[in-house]
């Protein structure tokens, strides 16, 4: 089954053509890295694949859903159920504990507060932070904060995890921790796509997608 399917996708911002006629398929269960120079269109590609933006032309299918046919509400439901995002900036609320930050990610899932907190605790346990539930972000290291963000992304058990430079703000040790987390998640069946500038991170992925000037230039498996 194809988790992601992009056909002839282009995206323009005014005169800037950020993506040109991209064809890309990611099968369920894959772990792919997306590499390429700055400004080449990696983030744009991830936004469109993650339904955060719509393409200027071309078709996008996520988990089998053709997104051009979906309303804002349906698209939101798709994101809530199928996709977890991890960003370079952790986007954690400074006033909330790790548990509440993770539970916040489940707010739009329809679960009760009780269930959200239970699932959040389980997700934090899964990323090795079961003993840090009550810590505020400022009481955590960068690597731990990113693991909280990963826990938030996977708490709803989405089949697809999209990460935009998740190790961009981390040192090599923390980076290795987070990467091993992605590998572990992938081994449980989660499809993972990671944008990275780090050759080591890219090399650790079974499949690499190279983007240049808005086009998918090369794939190496």
């Amino acid at each position: 089954m194809n988790m992601l399917e992009l056909r002839g996708v282009s995206k323009s911002y005014g005169k800037v053509l950020a993506l040109r006629n991209v064809d890309l398929t990611v099968r369920a269960g894959e772990l792919v890295s997306i590499v390429g120079p700055s400004g080449s269109g990696k983030s744009t590609l991830l936004q469109i694949a993650g339904t955060l933006d719509r393409p200027s032309s071309g078709t996008v299918r996520v988990a089998g859903y053709e997104i051009s046919e979906l309303s804002d509400g349906e698209l939101s439901a798709l994101r809530a159920r199928y996709i977890g995002f991890v960003f370079q900036r952790f986007h954690l609320a400074s006033g909330l504990s790790a548990l509440d930050n993770v539970a916040d990610g489940l707010l739009y899932s329809g679960l009760s507060r009780r269930q959200r907190r239970d699932r959040a605790a389980a997700a934090l346990d899964q990323v090795g932070l079961g003993n840090r539930l009550d810590h505020r972000p400022h009481q955590l290291s960068g690597g731990q904060m990113q693991r909280v963000a990963v826990a938030r992304a996977i708490a709803s058990k989405p089949p697809l995890l999209l990460a935009d430079e998740p190790t961009g703000n981390l040192d090599s040790a923390a980076s290795a921790e987070v990467m091993s987390l992605f590998h572990r998640l992938n081994s449980t069946g989660v499809t993972v796509a990671i944008i990275t500038h780090d050759p080591e991170v890219a090399a650790a992925c079974p499949r690499r997608i190279r983007v240049r000037d808005g086009q998918v230039r090369a794939e190496s498996a």
Binding site: E74, L75, S76, R81, L107, D164, E165
Partner: protein
Amino acid sequence: MTTLRPARLRPMDLARLGASGLTARPMRAILAAIGIAIGIATMVTVVGAAASSQEQILRQLDMLGTNLLRVEPGDSLFGKKARLPKSAAAMVKRIEGVVQAGQTGDTGTTVRRNDLISSSISLGIAVQATDLDLLDTLEGEVRTGVWLNAATERQPAVVLGAVAAERLGLTSPGVQVWIGDRWFTVIGILDRMPLAGEIERSALIGFPAAEGYLNHDGHPTTVYERSSDEHVESVHALLARTVNPANPSEARVTRPSDTLKAKAAVAGAFTGLMLGLGAIALFVGGVGVANTMVVAVLERRGEIGLRRSFGATRGQVRTQFLVEALLLSTLGGGAGVLLGALATFVYARANSLPAVLPPWAPAGALATTVLIGTLAGIYPALRAARVPPTVALSTQ
């Protein structure tokens, strides 16, 4: 393939979500809510102060009763004061339902502390002849000394109304005052009589004394009558004919409690100026809330994008910010109601009034703040809903 349907936010989750934006920056929330708090407090206080003043008068009215009527002869055809018959009060007493009646006759003279003071200085005190039943009819009380009796009504003895005594500077009986061209002894001072202000401002002597010492003609100028409550209307209809059979249309029958009722109505009406000030404060407060919310939306684009990536719909983002604006203004409104209630209490205390706040005042205040919050929140909420989900990914 299953259909995609976004989950609904539970009301409690929505409330918590709206509150989270405020608790993240409590100081700003307080400052933003102050305008509305002041506006609501002003309005509640205006209503509370008016209601307290009114309640005071209504309670007085309750105590004094509304069954007292007063008759004056009115003017005759030729513009002269018509005269009431000497036996007016006695005739009134025979009307069915009348419990008590008394009469007074203006003597046209003045009262002074001594004979050295010019007679042109009246101090606004009328010297009136009275029959012995007047005090009973008015349900008045003697504050100090005694009321006239069958003996003293023939003697140069005078009983002073509360205001008259005050103006003469007297607090106890036993002193002499100068009435007409001779000394009278003050034998009593009356309590206040809210239903008969003219008696409060009078020096009262007996009818025989007035005729004997002041050349009074013995005709009353005013008759007071108290009936049982259910007879007030029927007595009212008969009074004019009874006291002035020749020209009933000229007799003027009044109900002193009506004046008090009118006073209560006036006291219950609040001043437009204060309400206007409150409305301006509310408007400014509403603009303050709108402004704070617009700033919050600009600052929290990242949070909005993040929530969109979690699966929040545009509608849910809109609702979140609307709820936040509503909570903000309701916070101000709640504080305003408390402040206004406190101010009403202090005002009532300071003026020795019963503190009264009609229930519709806080209810109306809260309804107003909900309306303001909605109006102030609509634009920021619409802007929040337009923030694209992609801002979550952008790194700047």
